[in-house]
């Protein structure tokens, strides 16, 4: 790898190895990497970039080399940050701008959990019956999208706290067994729509 490598190629490489970079970052920091504004991830990306620049074929596998570079940059960053925090204790809370958003999300999700429980659904249950098949998932999500504006069904769900399986299957021409199999998922999503749990809806892009 030469230094004059084209920026497009570099971007391509970074794009291709994004999962790798995230994985290494998570491994080194022992934290999950945040989707939005992760300072650590940006440091890892810089480190990966640096690794591409400095890599020579004699240095062994690129990824192994990149991993060491990322690791050392992250460690440097943490060391530096610790010093900064020691210097002024007042600014221990970093990324303050994000806090409000986080708290809002958290409160909303907790509310969602309580509501779901009143419908007899726990998050754990939801995780256990999560739809693994991509196509099925898309189908069900689309179904939920079309059901979500149906007043009749909304009334039925809110009053009985149960999913009107027969009604849905008749109205939307979907077999009962399919609705039945994914009733928890459908119900949970519908509840999210009815109670406007925006963080969930935005996330799922419904």
């Amino acid at each position: 790898m030469r230094k004059d490598i084209a920026i497009e190629d570099k971007n391509e490489l970074i794009k291709k190895y994004m999962p790798f970079i995230i994985s290494v970052t998570a491994e080194v920091t022992n934290k999950y990497v945040s989707v939005e504004n992760s300072e650590e991830l940006s440091i890892s990306l810089e480190a990966f970039n640096e690794a591409i620049d400095r890599y020579e074929s004699g240095k062994g596998n690129l990824l192994t080399y990149a991993k060491t570079v990322i690791k050392s940059r992250l460690i440097d960053y943490h060391r530096k940050r610790r010093k900064v925090i020691l210097l002024d204790d007042c600014n221990v809370i970093e990324e303050g701008y994000n806090m409000e958003h986080d708290i809002h999300n958290k409160e909303e999700l907790q509310k969602y959990e309580v509501i779901l429980q009143s419908y007899g659904i726990g998050f754990e249950q939801l995780a256990n019956c999560s739809i693994k098949h991509t196509k099925t998932r898309e189908r069900i999500t689309n179904l939920v999208k079309s059901i979500s504006t149906d007043q009749e069904i909304e009334k039925a769900i809110k009053s009985t706290k149960r999913l009107p399986i027969t009604l849905i299957s008749k109205k939307y021409f979907i077999s009962k067994s399919v609705v039945k199999a994914h009733k928890l998922f459908i119900k949970a999503l519908l509840v999210a729509v009815y109670y406007q749990i925006s963080s969930v809806l935005d996330w799922l892009e419904i």
Partner: protein, 717 residues
């Protein structure tokens, strides 16, 4: 790599929601909060280990076996801490029974898989004797232990390190042995008693080999992961029979290879000291001590070996090297001094005693065995019952719970569905009826409308088309043909473009007039038809046709009339205009032609004269140019020729001159001389002769002048 929104954090995991709707549990990491959106990988997904009953048993077994492996590795610590001694039993199942100070089982060791089949669930806590009985009984049931098979039992106490000869020798050694016994602790005797008491019962049906081992030997065997009994048998077969036992050989095979004949009533005792290893036959006494009954098997073996062929000798030599001379000497001492004494004579005498004793003992033992068996069976049954009950209860409870849950869910769902369906059906029926009625009405209306529209459209179209087509075609054809033909005929080639245009315009105008009229007629007719159609659709068509025909005829008649009128008029106008036009045009052309002629004639004359002058001048110019050039050429050539000729002549003239001059001089000189001499000679004749001479000179001058003239002439040429 997936994205996830953390929606819940649990003690052991976090629940995340992916943008595609997938919900997963992931393992916890630092700083994870509800509402975070994070990246995670498949390896982060939390997997809960579900403990169902089977799995629980397996897990316990696995843990137990892991502990066992560790206990084997870290032997010193675990064994000595809890256990006091170990009994190993080899049938084909091979296992070790670890016991405590009170000879109760504390643990079991399995050296092969069969061993697990010959133990009961609850062995720990039983006495050694019971445990051994259970093992042998199970082995018999599972057919590991057939009649005449061999059981190898070893007993090892971890705090007794020395080898002890468990065979009591004859009187000579009795004192020593008693002394030894006194030194041993009580528990030691208890262990031996236990083992020997059991061996006594076993030897009625099977062959029994006993060995008393040391802790070190036991550990050595443990490292090899085989039982002490198996290990010692291997050693014996190596040293005594000269070939190492194969690990896969059964116990019986190994014993048979030793080449020892022994009966059930005898116990095969392996004795090993630092110096020697012996396999001896012994007899168990009332007090569980063992007494040697026959000669050492080792000795027998050695005798046989001495007689074997060279290969055998080589092998024995190897063995000899190993064992060394000391061993041989010892053996010789023992056999010479002691053993032979004990042999046949005493054996014969004692055989009767032994047999009777054995028989008695056997009966007693059999009775005891039966009692014990009965007890064991009862205990087994009770244990089985209790276990069954407990298991049943647990299973019932779990099944009940699960069944209840499932039944509840299903009942709920089914009830819901049924209610839903019934309600649906009723609603459906009502809805259906209403819908049917409404639909019927709507359909009727729509059908009516559509039919009406279609009929209207079709009638209109047909009428329009027919009227249009027929009128158009006929009118057009007739008009076109007639107009064309007549006009064409009447107006022939003389009519030029202007005339055509006018005719066309007129024709167009007439056609438009005709068309307008036709359309007016059509419209009128159509209106009439429509009116009639409104009155009665069915009849309308026929009437319309009639009227259309009438209309057509009328219109066609009118049109024809007008067309002919128009035609005639137009034709006459056209004729008039055409003739006027012809005359006018002809006059114009004549005038223009004469004007043209004059003009052209003048122009041509002018041009001809101009041409003449120009040509004449050009010719003159060229002639003069030619003359001048020719003259120049000629001059040049003449001068060139003159010069050349002049030079030639000059050259030749000068050559001639010189020559002539020379000749003349010579002749002049000669003449002079001669003249002078003649003058001298002829002084006298001078006066007379002067005259002659003068004349001669004159002649000569003349000659010279002549030549000169000739020369000049030549030169001039």
């Amino acid at each position: 790599m997936k994205k996830g929104l953390v929606i819940k954090i649990h003690n052991e995991y976090a629940v995340v929601l992916s943008p595609n709707g997938e919900v997963n549990k992931i393992r916890l990491r630092k700083h994870l909060m509800v509402g975070d959106s994070i990246y995670f990988e498949d390896k982060d997904i939390y997997i809960k280990i579900k403990f169902n009953k089977q799995f629980r048993v397996m897990a316990v077994a696995m843990v137990a076996s892991i502990i066992l492996v560790f206990s084997l590795v870290a032997f010193n610590q675990t064994i000595t801490a809890e256990s006091y001694g170990v009994i190993t039993v080899d049938i084909n199942p091979s296992l070790g029974i670890l016991i405590d100070r009170n000879c109760n089982v504390v643990a079991l060791e399995y050296y092969n898989d069969d061993a697990r089949n010959v133990v009961n669930k609850k062995m720990v806590g039983l006495s050694l004797s019971e445990a051994l009985d259970i093992v042998v009984e199970n082995a018999k049931e599972k057919e590991y232990l057939k009649e005449d098979a061999t059981i190898v039992i070893t007993a090892t106490m971890f705090d007794g390190t020395e080898h002890e000869n468990i065979i009591e020798d004859e009187d000579e050694d009795e004192d020593e042995n008693e002394n030894e016994f006194e030194n041993k602790s009580k528990t030691k005797n208890l262990l031996m008693d236990n083992v020997m008491a059991n061996v006594k019962t076993y030897q009625q049906e099977y062959h029994v080999v006993v060995y008393k081992g040391t802790k070190e030997e036991y550990e050595e065997a443990s490292v090899k992961k085989i039982s002490l009994g198996r290990n010692i048998l291997n050693e014996v077969s190596k040293e005594v029979a000269g070939n190492e036992a194969n690990a896969k050989d059964s116990i019986d095979d190994v014993i048979n290879k030793l080449g020892i004949d022994y009966e059930k009533s005898d116990v095969l005792v392996i004795n090993k000291s630092d110096e020697k290893m012996m396999v001896e036959l012994g007899e168990i006494k009332e007090d569980n001590s063992v007494k040697r009954v026959k000669q050492s098997a080792f000795k027998n073996k050695r005798d046989i070996e001495d007689k074997t062929d060279e290969n055998a000798i080589e092998e024995t030599n190897i063995v000899k090297d190993k064992i060394g001379n000391v061993v041989e000497n010892n053996i010789k001492d023992k056999t010479d001094n002691k053993m032979i004494k004990v042999t046949e004579e005493e054996a014969d005498g004692k055989a009767g005693d032994i047999k009777s004793k054995v028989d008695k003992g056997a009966e007693v033992v059999k009775g005891k065995v039966k009692d014990i068996k009965g007890k064991v069976e009862e205990i087994d049954k009770e244990i089985d019952k209790e276990i069954d009950k407990e298991i049943d209860k647990e299973i019932d409870e779990e099944i009940d719970e699960e069944v209840d849950e499932e039944v509840d869910e299903e009942v709920d769902e089914e009830v819901d569905e049924e209610v839903d369906e019934e309600v649906d059906e009723e609603v459906d029926e009502e809805v259906d009826e209403e819908i049917d009625e409404e639909i019927d009405e709507e359909i009727d209306e729509e059908i009516d409308e559509e039919i009406d529209e279609e009929i209207d459209e079709e009638v209109d179209e047909e009428v329009d088309e027919e009227v249009d087509e027929e009128v158009d075609e006929e009118v057009d054809e007739e008009i076109d043909e007639e107009i064309d033909k007549e006009i064409d005929e009447e107006i022939d080639k003389e009519i030029d473009e202007e005339v055509d245009e006018e005719v066309d315009e007129e024709i167009d105008r007439v056609a438009e007039e005709i068309k307008g009229k036709a359309e007016e007629g059509k419209d009128r007719v159509a209106e009439e038809i429509k009116g009639k159609i409104d009155e009665g659709k069915d009849k309308a068509a026929e009437e319309i046709k009639g009227k259309v025909d009438e209309g057509k005829d009328k219109v066609a008649g009118e049109i024809k009339g007008k067309a002919e009128e128009g035609k005639d008029r137009v034709a006459e106008e056209i004729k008039g205009k055409a003739e006027e036009g012809k005359d006018e045009v002809a006059g114009n052309i004549k005038d223009k032609a004469e004007e043209g002629k004059d003009r052209v004639a003048e122009e041509i004359k002018g041009k001809v004269e101009e041409g003449k002058d120009r040509v004449a001048e050009e010719i003159k110019g060229k002639v003069e140019e030619g003359k001048a050039k020719v003259a120049g050429d000629i001059k040049d050539k003449a001068e060139k020729g003159k010069d050349k000729v002049a030079e030639e002549i000059k050259g030749k003239a000068e050559e001639g001159k010189d020559e002539v001059a020379g000749n003349i001089k010579g002749k002049v000189d000669e003449g002079k001389d001669r003249v002078a001499e003649e003058i001298k000679d002829k002084d006298k004749d001078k006066v007379t002769k002067d005259k002659d001479e003068k004349e001669r000179v004159k002649d000569k001058d003349k000659l010279i002048e002549d030549t000169k003239v000739k020369v000049s002439k030549r030169l001039g040429r």
